[in-house]
């Protein structure tokens, strides 16, 4: 009797352990773990180094900004600058990218400068823009646009140059009109590259915005982070930096990834059916 109980108890423990391990080893658990890892490391470091504000004071500073209305106001200003800058950057990037991709003259003329532009750090643009345009909306918008433009441009050019020739020839053989070729062949063929470029451009553009506002603005997320920095209140600066990071992650993971999944839904399913056999 007792032997049975012990055996079943051990078996149950083993079952529980197996189930726990299955959950822990599951890739979803790993993903959740990756999100928990960062705060855990943060807590550990802030406990060891007093000058680094931990999650609690940062959350308090965040709450202060939220209740005073600063958060909403400053974030709104930054978001507007970001969206305008990105729209200009992506728009011009598309035009430049298409021109470079289609006409070899432009490619020879501009691909060198485009690579050089990719190599210029956003901080240089932020400093130059502040000197040129002074404090206000123009400098941050310009910085976002010029930081984003080359990423979009270079990727679109690559996309056009990698266009499947078979499909262009097919379209020519059937006499498909130019507009239809543009919208259903060229644009979808380039979309993958445009997406990759836009994703990078958004991350780089958002960084550029923060830098530009840090140096050359009297409002916005970057300015507010600087304000706390000048006040020697690291928890305030960190609160804004956390907001900044959360925004980039949400933008990338939630918005861009979802759009990308929808746009590339045709890639999702692979052929599973065997070749049909019909006797002639």
């Amino acid at each position: 009797m007792t032997g049975d109980v012990i055996v079943s108890g051990a078996a149950r423990a083993q079952r529980v352990w197996h189930r726990a391990w299955r959950i822990l080893a599951h890739h979803r658990a790993a993903r959740v773990g990756s999100w928990l890892l960062v705060p855990a490391v943060w807590v550990a470091i802030s406990a060891a180094v007093p000058r680094i504000a931990g999650p609690v004071p940062v959350a308090e500073a965040f709450w202060e900004e939220l209740t005073s209305g600063e958060l909403y106001w400053q974030f709104g200003i930054s978001l507007r600058r970001f969206l305008v800058g990105m729209a200009i950057g992506i728009g011009l990037g598309l035009v430049v990218g298409i021109a470079l991709g289609i006409w070899r003259v432009f490619d020879l003329l501009l691909s060198g400068p485009a690579i050089a532009a990719l190599a210029i750090p956003s901080i240089i643009w932020a400093l130059l823009a502040t000197m040129w345009f002074g404090f206000g909306d123009t400098a941050p918008i310009f910085t976002v646009a010029v930081s984003a433009l080359p990423f979009v441009g270079v990727n679109v050019t690559t996309g056009i140059q990698a266009m499947p020739r078979d499909l262009t020839r097919m379209s020519a053989a059937f006499g498909v009109p130019a507009w239809r070729r543009l919208t259903r062949l060229l644009v979808p063929a380039v979309t993958g590259y445009l997406f990759a470029g836009t994703r990078l451009a958004m991350i780089v553009g958002w960084q550029a915005l923060l830098l530009s506002e840090w140096f050359g603005a009297v409002d916005g997320v970057g300015f507010r982070a600087r304000y706390w920095y000048d006040a020697n209140r690291p928890e305030g600066t960190l609160a804004w930096i956390v907001l900044f990071i959360v925004f980039v992650v949400l933008l990338d993971r939630v918005l861009l990834e979802r759009i990308s999944r929808w746009v590339f839904r045709w890639r999702a399913q692979e052929s599973t059916q065997p070749a049909p056999v019909q006797e002639a």
């Binding site: 890639r267 059916q273 049909p276 002639a280």
Partner: protein, 250 residues
């Protein structure tokens, strides 16, 4: 429907020292409603010839007249399906149809039905097998209601059974519609089974000979007369050095 006149066509790629002669001099004609195959060794300009006839490429010299010389609707079936992977099957057919609207939709579905694929109209191309994709390519070429159908080794990438089934289907469609078909292949058996005449090209891009195939349609690939004719035609190439023998896809 449309007849084809190919007169002294020559095609040279590149300029100066980097010139390659793809077609030296080719002349032949195809009658209205005729099924003509073009066979020849790799690199004799078969695909280039189809591209010139379809207007995708321009001949360096000579001329091609299709029909009465006015704009003629051409359907083209390639070696590979060449479908837009990001458009659904039905949209792939609508892509090449002139204009838009309900009629086009009905027509696209009708031709998908003709190749037995009306059920997959809403699927993405990569959900279909290679044979099904090629049938979509055939439905697309037929849906433009062409006066002339150009086919460039359409079955060469398919397994033997699927290719055989599609050959039978093509023969039925041709007999039902009376289309003019110009069919490029390296498979003599296929050419014998399907064609009224076979244009044999020689390496370098000239016409070696034109062979009439005088058997009634439809023909089965298992028909012993088809096999005998194939053997006879193959025999004619015995005088050609082996590297020039008919075969290869490019």
């Amino acid at each position: 429907m449309a007849a084809i006149e190919v007169r002294g066509v020559r095609k040279v790629f590149g300029t100066g020292d980097h010139q390659t002669v793809a077609i030296e001099d080719i002349s032949f004609s195809v009658a209205d409603g005729e099924f003509v195959s073009v066979v020849g060794p790799s690199g004799c300009g078969k695909t280039t010839l189809l591209n010139i006839i379809s207007g995708v490429e321009k001949a360096t010299a000579g001329e091609v007249v299709v029909g009465d010389g006015s704009e003629v609707r051409i359907g083209y079936v390639f070696q590979e399906p060449r479908l837009l992977p990001w458009r659904r099957v039905l949209d792939n057919i609508l892509y090449v149809l002139p204009g838009r609207g309900r009629n086009n939709r009905a027509r696209a579905l009708e031709f998908l039905g003709m190749v037995g694929l009306e059920d997959v109209a809403r699927k993405w191309p990569n959900q279909l097998s290679g044979g099904m994709q090629q049938r979509v390519g055939i439905a697309r070429a037929l849906a433009v209601e062409p006066a002339l159908l150009l086919m460039d080794e359409p079955f060469s990438h398919l397994d033997a059974m699927t290719a055989r089934a599609l050959r039978g289907q093509l023969q039925d469609i041709w007999l039902a519609t009376g289309l003019t078909v110009l069919f490029v292949t390296h498979d003599i058996a296929e050419a014998v089974q399907l064609s009224d005449r076979i244009v044999v090209l020689a390496r370098g891009g000239t016409v070696r000979e034109v062979l009439p195939i005088e058997l009634e349609h439809p023909r089965l690939s298992s028909d012993p007369r088809v096999g005998a004719l194939q053997a006879e035609i193959m025999g004619r190439f015995d005088d050609v050095p082996s590297r020039e023998a008919v075969g290869g896809t490019r």
